[in-house]
Structures are given as C-alpha cells and as structure tokens.
C-alpha cells in the first residue's frame, strides 16, 4: 500500500499530509468495520438457511436406549478434551462445560507489528489474549421405541483482547469477542471420542 508518490523531491510538509491520509484511511477502515449491518431480533428467532447444515454438523445419532450411559460418556469425553463440567441436568440430558486457554497466536503479533510499521507507529491493534471455549450438550430420544438417542453439541468461544493504541487514544484491554465454533473437524473429533467411549457407531442425520 503506497499513499505518497515515489519521487524523491518532496517537502516534509507533503510527507506529513501523506501520513495524515494514511492514518485517516486506517481509521475510516476501522470505523466502517463497526458498521456491519445489525440483524433485527425477529430474524434470530426464524430458522436461517444454514441452520440445517449446522444441525447436521453438531448432531449424531446413537442406537441406544441408555440415556444415563450416553450422558456420562459425554462428560468423560469432554473431560478428556480438557473441559470442566459446569452444569448438568439429567432429566433433559443437558451438560455444559468450559475450558480457558491462552488465545495468543504468532500471526497476530506479526500483523500487529506490520500494521504498526505501516501506520508509522500510530496504530497498535489489540491482540487476542485469553479465551474461554465452552460446550453445551443435549441428549434426547428421537423415536417412539426409545432405542435411539440424538446427541447435539455446540461449541463457542469468548475471546478477551489486550490493549492497543490508535494514534493518541489508548485502547483499554478486556474487549470481548464471541463466536460460535463452526469448524466441522472439532465436532468430528468429539464424536469420534464419544463413540469410542460408548462402543457405538455414530450415525449422521
């Protein structure tokens, strides 16, 4: 990205303006980033086109009538993955678990440095410091004969950012970002572990 023309004979005044334009562009970019269209509440309660794909990714069927065993095996599988069980309700087959980990990544430091360099030391973007990965499992019977169980797990992350600097404004740490985990591999991993624990073959829906 080059804002100033490459000819060598420029006055310092012009350089200053080029820098100003750069900072302005970056700031505008950041501000526009916040202008993502807001979804209306009514839309959150309507089924989205991708909801069936998510459901397929998050759900497996097991041929068993034993709720209890499936639930305790799920808890064990989550423990194997390093989760702490936070809540369990046996009657509706609910488990909620979470683990906290560092969210620091090498790439982020590199990007932060590059942006700092490009903005000539005016912009220090906050990086992800800490994250909480949480999982919710619901197990329910799916047929009248009571021989099949549906296991649905949902993973999500909450990330806390560190501090940063935008020109002369300090960005305080602790900004939160939340996202659902949509990586199918993570779900496959969990179900592979669970099926080993209950000695049952999982079926996709």
């Amino acid at each position: 990205m080059r804002i100033t023309p490459p000819n060598s004979e420029r006055s310092g005044h012009k350089v200053g303006r080029g820098r100003g334009a750069l900072i302005l562009t970056l700031t505008c970019g950041m501000l526009l980033g916040g202008c993502a269209e807001r979804t209306q509440p009514a839309q959150f309660f309507a089924l989205s086109p991708e909801s069936s794909a998510n459901r397929a990714m998050q759900t497996r069927l097991f041929e068993t009538g034993n709720d209890h065993e499936l639930l305790s095996a799920s808890a064990a599988s989550l423990q194997d993955l390093g989760f702490q069980i936070e809540e369990s309700v046996r009657e509706v087959g609910l488990l909620r678990a979470a683990k906290e980990r560092s969210a620091r990544e090498y790439g982020q430091y590199r990007n932060r440095f590059l942006i700092w360099l490009v903005s000539l030391g005016h912009l220090v973007i906050p990086i992800d410091l800490h994250q909480k990965i949480a999982a919710t499992i619901v197990i329910r019977p799916t047929n009248q004969g009571d021989t099949r169980r549906e296991v649905r797990i949902m993973f999500y992350r909450v990330i806390w950012k560190g501090d940063g600097q935008a020109d002369r404004n300090y960005i305080p740490p602790g900004e939160q970002k939340m996202e659902m985990v949509r990586d199918p591999e993570i779900y496959q991993q969990f179900f592979a572990k669970l099926s080993k624990a209950v000695f049952l073959e999982p079926h996709s829906i």
Binding site: N54, Q58, M178, M180
Partner: protein, 145 residues
C-alpha cells in the same frame, strides 16, 4: 359588621387554602400493576400446545432453541425452565437471551411462555415470539414422529 364580614371571608379563604393540603392525593399509577400493553405482550409470549407430557414439550423447546442457534445455559426439568442465549451474529458484541417456561395445563395441554431480551432490553415485538413458536411447533412435530 363590614369588618367582621371581611375577617370571615379571609378566614374562609385561609381555611380553604389550608384544607387544600388535606385532599387525598391522586392515586399514582402502580409500578407493578399490569397495564394493557403488558397483557398484550404476555399473550404474544404464551402459547398452548396440544402436548400432554410437559417433558416432551420441554425437550421440544430445547431442540427448537438449538436449531435457532441458541446455547442452552440452564434447564430445570421439574419447574419446566429453560434459559438460553446466543450471539447476535454477525455482530459479536450483542447478546440475545431467552427464558422459556413450560407448564402443564389441564386437559392434556401444555402452555409455553417465552421472554426474550436483546442486550438486557426486553423484546416486545410479537413477530419475534411468533417466529419462536413456529420453531417450537416444528420441533414438537419432529419429536412426535
């Protein structure tokens, strides 16, 4: 005579002014009393389903919430209570919360009531609840299969 009349008039006026303070205050609108608007929201938030078993209804509610992308946070089977939340994707800073109560009615029916909040502000748009109950209906139908 004239003087006495003046004193009397002044006395009456003064008395009236003093008595003014003794009028019972206008009853203020009670903060916790139900208003028409509240009743309307309440009827939008509740719906009765032809399901005899409230446990089945509760599982249906949970499945519907999950289909809608909600994370189940809490559930209490004996009380028929479900609390769930979701992020207002693609805007990851807003949170949508919902509390659902499932109560068995007489004559083999179940009443489901939902309260939704958007960033801790109650949602009063009936369309939201219509959409929610449509999802519950769909999921109850799937459970019955």
């Amino acid at each position: 005579m004239n003087r006495i009349q003046v004193i009397g008039a002044v006395g009456i006026i003064a008395g009236a002014v003093m008595l003014q303070g003794c009028v019972a205050p206008e009853p203020r609108q009670e903060l916790f009393a139900p208003t028409d608007a509240q009743m309307k929201i309440r009827s939008a938030q509740s719906r009765t389903f032809e399901v005899a078993d409230s446990a089945v209804a509760m599982r249906g509610v949970i499945a519907a919430l999950q289909d809608l992308g909600f994370i189940i946070e809490r559930a209490n089977a004996p009380l028929g209570l479900v609390t769930a939340a979701r992020f207002a994707e693609p805007n990851y800073y807003d949170v949508l919360g919902v509390t659902v109560t499932v109560r068995p009615q007489e004559s083999g029916k179940t009443m489901i009531r939902a309260n939704a909040i958007y960033n801790s502000k109650p949602i009063e748009d009936p369309k939201v609840y219509q959409n929610f109950f449509a999802a519950v209906e769909r999921s109850l139908f799937l459970v019955k299969e």
